[in-house]
Symmetry: C2
Subunit: 306 residues, 2 copies
């Protein structure tokens, strides 16, 4: 039985690559076996602990330092019995590692949280206030042209509806398929989605239109309908900003529902809300890691009562 199917696969004749994914490490090939079309999906197996341990225990393996930035060391590595010219794994060494690093790179258990308007007002808003000031000084530095001035793609300097579009640090500023900008607003009174009201619709529309006008002009390979606009709740910093990425950018869980909100959807919700309504009256549901600041400082203590 087995032999027959193995014989089939050994008669596969390659025609073309249908798909590949560097994140998931697979490649999909089209070909034929005798006169019949066949598809072959080849995916690397899970990296198990015993394989990983080879990098620590064996002496015959090779390492090549690719980059070092402060405590972050990036290597390519091979294992003794694997083809010496092809790296088998990418290895990142963080050394010295602090407790914060250890927390950041550890698996977190998660839970579903409902943030009602009452919980927001009583517990979350005071927490957000503690996350401002010096913690977002780097944002003000960008807005005040004290940092990253040379990277600004576009600025509309208006105090009310103004913003700066600047490359996100996630982006290498070269690869168009992973293009990632962020639009940071000049006004400092919008901490997050929660503070958005009908009056902010022109600001949001202006951000979208500016990006649609400028980015496809700068990068001929990208069209207007290949840009994604989204915001995070909770965001990683509490000064309102909009993420702008290539439609193919794979952000892992950064596009997940319960974290990401499409800019267009937010605008449409604001447009169709009654005048006396805004996001401050919404119950928002999201998934929190139990090592996150928001869980530790806010939700862990109120989950029993909500």
């Amino acid at each position: 039985m087995n032999d027959e199917y193995v014989k089939n696969i050994k008669n596969f004749v390659f025609e073309s690559v249908l798909n590949e994914d560097s994140r998931l490490k697979y490649i999909t090939l089209l070909g034929h076996i005798f006169d019949t079309k066949a598809i072959l999906i080849i995916e690397k197996t899970t990296l198990e602990l015993k394989d990983a341990m080879l990098f620590i225990e064996e002496n015959g393996l090779f390492f090549e330092l690719i980059e070092k930035n402060d405590i972050y060391h990036l290597f390519l590595g091979g294992i003794p019995f694997y083809d010496k010219k092809s790296p088998y794994a990418k290895i990142t060494l963080i050394y010295p590692a602090s407790e914060i690093h250890i927390k950041k790179y550890s698996r977190q258990s998660k839970c579903r949280v409902q943030e009602t308007p009452e919980i927001y007002e009583l517990y979350v808003k005071p927490y957000i206030e503690t996350m401002k000031g010096p913690r977002i000084k780097w944002v003000y530095n960008i807005l005040d042209h004290l940092a990253e001035k040379e990277h600004i793609l576009y600025e509309y300097p208006d105090k009310e509806n103004g913003f700066i579009i600047i490359p996100d640090l996630k982006w290498d500023q070269k690869t168009v398929s992973t293009l990632y900008y962020v639009a940071i607003v000049h006004r400092r009174d919008i901490s997050s989605l929660r503070d958005l009201k009908k009056e902010h619709i022109p600001l949001l529309l202006h951000i979208k239109q500016a990006a649609l006008d400028i980015i496809p002009k700068k990068f001929q390979e990208i069209s207007q309908d290949q840009l994604k606009f989204f915001i995070h709740y909770h965001p990683s910093y509490y000064h309102f900003h909009v993420h702008i990425s290539h439609i193919d950018f794979d952000s892992g869980d950064g596009m997940d529902v319960g974290r990401a909100y499409l800019l267009e959807d937010i605008i449409n919700q604001l447009e169709t809300m009654s005048d006396n309504f805004s996001f401050i009256q919404r119950t928002l549901t999201f998934f929190l890691g139990k090592k996150s600041d928001l869980w530790l400082n806010v939700f862990s203590s109120i989950m029993n009562t909500s």
Copy 2:
């Protein structure tokens, strides 16, 4: 320079596994180098075409047939110069492959689409009507107890607010961390999110409560706050259903904003909408693959005019 850092990594002493991911093929280790903590992240490299070609060209490699179901053949495979006991890749052979398979497994370019209420009414709704009837006979078979009856987790047989909770085919019905159920409603007049109105709030709440009551009782390892409830727009079939999964279930792009909507968010939007408003008046934004039926049959021809 290089040597010094390679020396560091070779002195890494393993303490524990911080994290691992079988989908992304990485493992994160905590350890120390001399007296200082260090983190090692080891991730398999991209599967390149030349590596994949080894499986076709070389004779010394091994294949093991793991499963065969109709045209789908699953193998584990190794390459000649790699440890013969450890499989290097998981290989799926689809043979014979039809044009539909080839389309399904090919990379698609995507674009952002705005479905206004007008576009929905004029073009999308008629398309949805063509996707009913025989195409969702399998759904009616479940609801009528003609199929999968033995797998039903829970049924509330009411015609108005009734539904069946049944395992999704994605789930092996064993592994709790990938738990995946679907709640299919009995009424046949809700094709999708677009048809939801205030009057459906009790139905939605009932589905959520039933799952929260039953699933953690059946699986002691899972708590109520570890369940995710979401719906898709556009869904893969046009009969209203709610996805219920473990919070850790990694559905690739199935949880992406622009496709997935949290059940809680939908309920809250319905609750806070004015009485004469519903999702049929919303502009919905999503990302469509240019080989999808919805693109080919609907949006490709109207994108220039919208």
